[in-house]
Point group: C2
Chain length 212, copies 2
């Protein structure tokens, strides 16, 4: 993999390639052409060739892509060939939904613990993952080499908590709170704003109706 800047748009599409390649591997497919992949993924074949050329062109003319090779190369690019330690802040339904999703571990994301302020939740486990009191956050992050924190708490507390997490050594925030976080530039933030997603859906539905 060379060092040239890969565009955000390509990076955004890579996880989807990764998902499809994983499914192909499960089906026992060893090679696939850009045309076949195009049909499966509903993306043009030229887009696929362009995207995958960014990484040094794993495809060979008339021969197609080696599925498992491409799968592993994309994993390396995405950094999911390494282990990342993750904690979840907020052990409500959303936090528990994330804890319950075993697939994250298969992709190298190890959920080390959950944290909550609600004393009734402390000591409970979700799929073997324990819920700790928020007072233990700092020592836990340092002892468990935690890099990523999923933030599933109300927006009023989100900014303050994110700043704390960063001061304790967390490098990346997976932010589910409905607010944008103002953090130092070297902290990674990935937002999942569900209400914005629902509004985009609403736009599409409304636009479809008026188009009739």
């Amino acid at each position: 993999m060379d060092n040239k800047q890969i565009s955000k748009a390509v990076i955004k599409r890579l996880p989807r390639y990764y998902r499809y390649l994983g499914e192909l591997m499960q089906e026992g497919v060893e090679r696939i052409s850009s045309n076949e992949l195009s049909e499966k993924m509903k993306v043009t074949a030229s887009q696929i060739r362009q995207d995958l050329n960014n990484f040094g062109g794993f495809g060979q003319q008339g021969y197609g892509y080696n599925v498992s090779y491409l799968y592993n190369e994309i994993a390396k690019i995405l950094g999911i060939d390494k282990q990342h330690n993750l904690i979840i802040i907020g052990a409500g339904n959303l936090g528990q939904a994330i804890a319950n999703y075993a697939n994250f571990e298969r992709r190298g994301f190890m959920i080390k613990g959950m944290f909550d302020v609600n004393p009734r939740l402390i000591g409970m486990t979700v799929r073997g993952i324990e819920i700790y009191p928020i007072e233990q956050l700092e020592s836990f992050i340092k002892e468990n080499d935690v890099q990523i924190a999923a933030l599933t708490i109300p927006k009023a507390k989100a900014e303050e908590m994110a700043e704390k997490l960063v001061s304790y050594g967390v490098k990346a925030i997976w932010n589910f709170a409905h607010t944008d976080l103002n953090l130092p530039k070297d902290v990674v933030v990935e937002n999942v704003h569900l209400s914005e997603s629902l509004m985009r859906l609403s736009y599409k539905v409304s636009n479809m109706d008026t188009g009739k």
Copy 2:
């Protein structure tokens, strides 16, 4: 609002404008210039002017935008000035997390019910929203004028369920299952693929590390 095509990129940004304008209204702000909004939202002022010009230019030179007018106009464009009836398929943690989020109702999304195959969940309520057996799905959709279904079930069952929902009259699927749905073109699909979001975060973390 004129009928010209609004680009996907602009639509994607509108919910964020809407969120910021709502916060400004809560703070009692009546007017805001593109420069002030630019600083708050960390988007260039020229981008803001360009985006908002799409809707006939609510801004006046040297005077700024009328916050509540812009807020309401964006609501109309997004279709959230009208009521949308929504159901949740899958009453696990993720489904319950969505049911618990009262803000959706303030934006016109009325959660009418949840559905699950697990008999132990039937009859329970989450924030007053009842969980019904999946057998009642068809009649419920028809009787409650349900337009939108949030799909929070495992991917193995997602496609089949989505097809059923569409055949019962649902117009839009808010898809949380980790798969792409192949549905007729006139059905709206908005995907929330959490594992893809986590992989993008992983890429950013990995890239940051190597950049040091």
